[in-house]
């Protein structure tokens, strides 16, 4: 008789997997096959010695869907652990962006000024372009990119979110 909660929430799902071929395809196939969203995804080996990789997926859905995502991911044979960091408690979620801005004159100086305010580093500079490197929460990256748009924004490359629980706890 429990009522279903229809509000859509965002969630950061962290998954510790056996680092074997096809494991990422299993996770992604599960998301697409069951119609779950993927807003961003990162994956890299984290425990070379134990052949483990960590996948972080930012997704959204009703609380019931998020529970389903965890349960369905947990079913996959090479999955060690799966956690919804948004539910576990305070966590740090960061991504990195490389942002290319092509402009001269006024716009160029303005771009540089905003980059400083955001603590973005110019990692490549030519007479007509910058590549800024910026790390932070997703919305910080979003607003930086928005501000660069009228200033000659040419190309963006983002990593997607890496996330971890605050304090001594682990997933």
């Amino acid at each position: 008789m429990t009522m279903q909660d229809e509000t859509i929430v965002s969630a950061v799902i962290s998954i510790l997997v056996e680092n074997e071929s096809g494991v990422l395809a299993r996770v992604i196939g599960l998301f697409s096959g069951r119609g779950y969203n993927i807003e961003s995804l990162t994956v890299a080996p984290v425990e070379q010695s134990r052949h483990q990789s960590r996948i972080n997926i930012v997704t959204s859905g009703t609380p019931q869907v998020i529970e389903q995502i965890k349960a369905q991911v947990g079913r996959l044979v090479p999955v060690y652990r799966v956690a919804d960091l948004t539910q576990v408690g305070p966590h740090v979620a960061r991504e990195m962006a490389l942002v290319k801005v092509v402009s001269t004159g006024e716009a160029r100086t303005e771009a540089l000024r905003i980059a400083e305010a955001f603590r973005a580093r110019a990692v490549d500079t030519t007479a007509t372009s910058f590549v800024f490197e910026l790390t932070g929460a997703t919305d910080k990256l979003d607003s930086f990119i928005d501000l660069m748009r009228p200033l000659g924004l040419a190309e963006v490359s983002r990593t997607g979110v890496a996330a971890i629980i605050r304090g001594p706890r682990t997933i």
């Binding site: 008789m1 279903q4 299993r26 096959g33 349960a71 079913r75 044979v77």
Partner: protein
Amino acid sequence: MNATPNLNDLKPNTHAHGADIVLSGAEVLLRVLVEQGVEVIFGYPGGAVLPIYDALFRQNAVRHILVRHEQAAVHAAEAYARSTGKVGVVLVTSGPGATNAVTGLVDALMDSIPVVCFTGQVGVPLIGTDAFQEADTTGITRQATKHNYLVKNPADLARVAHEAFHIARSGRPGPVVVDLPKNITVGPAPYAPASRAPHPSYRPRIEPEREAVVRAVAAMKRARRPLFYTGGGVINAGPQASEALGRLVRRTGFPCTSTLMGLGAYPTTDGQFLGMLGMHGTYEANLATHGCDVLVALGARFDDRVTGRLDAFSPDSFKIHADIEPSQINKIVQVDVPIVGDAGRVIEMMLEEWERQDGAPDPAALAQWWRQIEAWRGIRSLHFDQDMAPSAIIRPQHAVRRLYELAMETGRDTFVSTEVGQHQMWAAQHFQFDRPNRWLTSGGLGTMGYGLPAAVGAQIAHPDALVIDIAGEASTLMNIQELGTIAQYRLPVKIFILNNQYMGMVRQWQELLHGSRYSESYSAALPDFVRLAESFHAKGMRATCVGELDDVIRAMLAEPGAVVADICVAQDENCYPMIPSGAAHNQMLLGPEQEGEVKVSAEGRMLV
């Protein structure tokens, strides 16, 4: 050292001398099969698996059954598994062999059947080059299996093959594919016995949490209108689970209904059994589901064919749901007490708690509930009128009833498989199953063509049993080539075709939802099934009217070999009772007289 040893000499775990024998990958595979207790595999050869077929040729421990199509190999293995509780094993070649098997794999996935399917693959150096008969089998079957493997290193072969069996049979069972490149089976590979160590990442939960069971039983003790709703998970938990279910149902005095997949776990002839629930379930089962105040779901997954309109499903009940697979809980229906664990263990623990906890459900309330159920039962929702004049047209329900009654008279252990369609529902409604593992049907995927190969698998597993495929004329043609397998192995399978000359289930929906425009649902240009049977060395029989029916059934049952019985039945019969798509359990159609009243919503149409 002998490069091609006689595999019969290779007993598993004989390390003393075995260590210096160099085995090929194919031989290692055969040893794994022996160690896993495999007696039968269903398969079809081809270039990529020739080394394995060669190894099979040089041993006697594992029997190979040659099917006529790889899909049939998987269905046969599924029925072998379902009727024995063992893992069904399949061997097919690369490319088309593997792709042909995919339907069977998904079927096994949907119905939680333990199957291990070995597929040949081109040699590792050729993978990714579009080589002859190369298909990305692990890619194609990733969503079609519980798990799959590509063996790229000979050192992994034995471990992976053992692990495949463990994963197929444990937890929620399912199909596992092991893709074997030809260089792996040809080249040398080390043998390793099955590991006793727990799998690093895969640890299904078997033992339920006591605390959850305590809460469940407390709710059951307070129930005034309780109901057990049991599914295929009880069958998968083994015959002891079904036996325990019988004790629990009798001890509590509660009514019990079952899904299509769960039939036989609780005896369907028992007074406490209400019949199947869901779209073509009985009136009493569906109204009890709708009206109960405590619903105890055991090894069932709230499939849409069971729930009907979700927001009206069992609206007033406190819901208890036990399943071995956590993802099934709160997937469709939010429940009050989730229990993760093996159905058999859950039932045993419920029995213990039932004795331990004080109190009992109010007997007056329970008696009132049973009076209500008896009143619903009085509607006789499965009733049909059969004109008994000898020349009368046979109604399909009558044919199934007589088949059941005459089969029982033989006193033989009886296994029934079905195809998919109206005949499947009539079989579920009118054939009775008092024991588990005797009912073999494609539930989740609804695969036409399942029944004939399934009958092959069941008969191979139970050579002396009576095995009947209750079939539709359209479905049977989807794997009719298996009559060849039946002939080769002299399997005395009985194929009982309810021939209505229509894809009856499709026709029924067209009648209900599409203004009786029977678009492409007529079974045109049917073969003469009697002569078809004869050309495959089986006996063909036909009944065209009521006067012939019993004689044909008796002759079929008496025939020592395979029979195809073409039972010509009414063409316009619809399957009732029925909950139209998108309707609630208390909005059932009981018969054709109510058809005019169907108003299937636009939403309901989409749910079809």
